[in-house]
């Protein structure tokens, strides 16, 4: 009974997905005239119409009952996954595509527009991040919480970087100050360079360099030889660390560069540890992670994932 139920469910999924994929393909073929590049007024008209159409679709989806919304999401997820699965697993050319002029895979030409559409959808989320930051820091300033001046600094930095970044991109030769306050011909590009090259770049590099200090304290505190295995690992770690730097290379510099003894040079042992043992371990862990990723992708695609938001009403 249960097997029969599952057979029916799987058949409905597969048939529904195939019908959805074929319907989508047919829709794309029918609508292909509107996917031709346009310029000028037609371009802006097309963008506006797309935004309005999208807003209308979103409104209609929002009005649907929760159970229907969930089914729509599950169906769209399945069709989207099915598209990429079919595109990859069906051959590039085959007699099964008998209706195509050169019997080529019908899904392959759709890869680029589908990918571009995905990028556009993700682009809508750009303002979410800026909005969230503005909200948090705005509340800090409004409530005069301790350290609210840092939030003022955020807005000043945000505005300055955005303004000068866009300004120098479109008018790099524009002069900000001709001859005032001791400045002569201060260009927008120069101000942008002060902000980005002279401020942002060193700040990022400084934070990365803090890593070295934290690594030293972590090494002092946590690397303890509690067993023989830990001892072996410690020796391997020392050799790998020394093998990357001139100090370690100097320790065995008297050994020849060629011949059997060359394998005992610090850098040779270090590269051997990295290229054999470490690589084998990484590959093994990688196999596990990839199979785990495959399983999770399968569960997401077939709506088998459970727990958290996967079972909630929309």
């Amino acid at each position: 009974m249960r097997t029969r139920k599952w057979t029916i469910v799987v058949t409905i999924y597969v048939m529904g997905g195939l019908i959805g994929a074929v319907a989508w393909w047919a829709l794309v073929q029918a609508l292909s005239p509107i996917f031709r590049p346009v310029e000028g007024g037609a371009f802006y008209g097309a963008v506006s119409a797309s935004v309005l159409l999208w807003a209308a679709v979103m409104y209609l989806l929002h009005r649907l009952p929760a159970s229907v919304k969930k089914r729509v999401v599950v169906f769209m997820t399945f069709v989207a996954g099915l598209f990429y699965t079919l595109e990859f697993y069906l051959p590039e050319k085959s007699a099964i595509f008998f209706w195509r002029p050169s019997h080529t895979n019908p899904f392959t030409p759709m890869l680029d527009p589908v990918g571009a559409a995905t990028s556009v959808i993700f682009g809508f989320t750009f303002f979410l991040g800026a909005f969230s930051l503005s909200l948090v820091h705005g509340k800090h300033i409004a409530a005069r919480r301790p350290g609210y001046y840092n939030s003022i600094a955020f807005f000043v930095a945000f505005a300055a970087m955005a303004a000068f970044g866009l300004w120098q991109a479109y008018a790099p030769k524009a002069i900000l100050v001709h001859d005032h306050w001791g400045l002569r011909n201060l260009s927008v590009r120069q101000v942008y360079d002060y902000l980005f090259i002279s401020t942002y770049v060193p700040l990022g590099a400084a934070l990365f360099s803090v890593l070295a200090f934290y690594m030293a304290t972590a090494a002092f505190r946590a690397f303890r030889v509690r067993s023989a295995e830990a001892g072996f690992m410690m020796v391997a770690a020392f050799i790998c660390m020394l093998g990357q730097v001139p100090l370690g290379m100097w320790v065995t510099h008297h050994l020849p560069m060629t011949g059997p003894l060359s394998h005992l040079r610090t850098e040779a042992i270090a590269n051997w540890i990295l290229g054999v043992f470490s690589m084998a371990g990484l590959r093994a862990v990688g196999f596990g992670i990839l199979v785990g990723g495959l399983a999770m992708s399968l569960r997401l695609w077939l709506n088998l994932e459970r727990g958290a938001f996967f079972e909630q009403e929309l």
Partner: protein
Amino acid sequence: MGRDSQFWSRRVIWLALAIATAAFLLVKVKAVMYVSKPARDIYDAIEAVPASKLIVISCSWAPGTIGENGPQTEALIRHCFKAGKRFAIFGFVDPAGPGLGQAIAERCQAQYGRRYGRDWVNWGFNIGGIPMIRGWAKNIPGTIKRDIFRKPITSRPVMAGIKTVRDIGLVIEITPSLSLQTWVDFIYGIYRTPIAYACTGVMGPEAFPFYDAHQIVGVLKGLAGAAEYEQLMGYEGDALKRMPAQSSAHAVVIALIVLGNILYLRARRRGEAPERRLGGS
């Protein structure tokens, strides 16, 4: 160890590391690096690129990793300039990457008599991720369209004859992340275009499965990789200058590990060693 002693021991360790590193930045010590096979393989791969093909230097790094990826980018760009190889700077992961590569190339070009547009070009940052890379492989001018100065790339003499990924002789991915996977999957995997990888030191071990499987032609690991490349090129750049400081830092970390274990063994003998909480599996 009590809270106060932990507070001060951290600061002492940081000070010791700072002094050990700064000393070798202030005192000039000549570093000699022995070049590893993965670095030499990238050198040979660049030398082997024919004149009809372009090298792509993909700057997928952000300002934070300028300490490692910066010298790597400079060494590779200098090699391309010296060997007269056409190249294009490109970015698809971090918007800042191509601009940082541009600054490095502009600084070096005069020394080798090279000029932007004639010998090299910067395609700038291109959004779109994997779909963009797939489209780029089939039609480079159609996907990239304009360079970093907003001029059509087809107007640049260096782009003559470059239409698809078959006209690319080598892609060098310079990154602190695993964006190499995109190139291996969609460019090497489909078109067998040679790929090289220049990464931060911490990502070095991740490169070896690809290198061992011949999916990438070579690896530059961190600042040491950049120093090896400078050694190969025969010039003393930032990487070689900083290697004595890195040696000193490694020595300090090794000394700290040894010291930590000595103190731990002493405390264990006295019965004072704290029980470490369960960690890992």
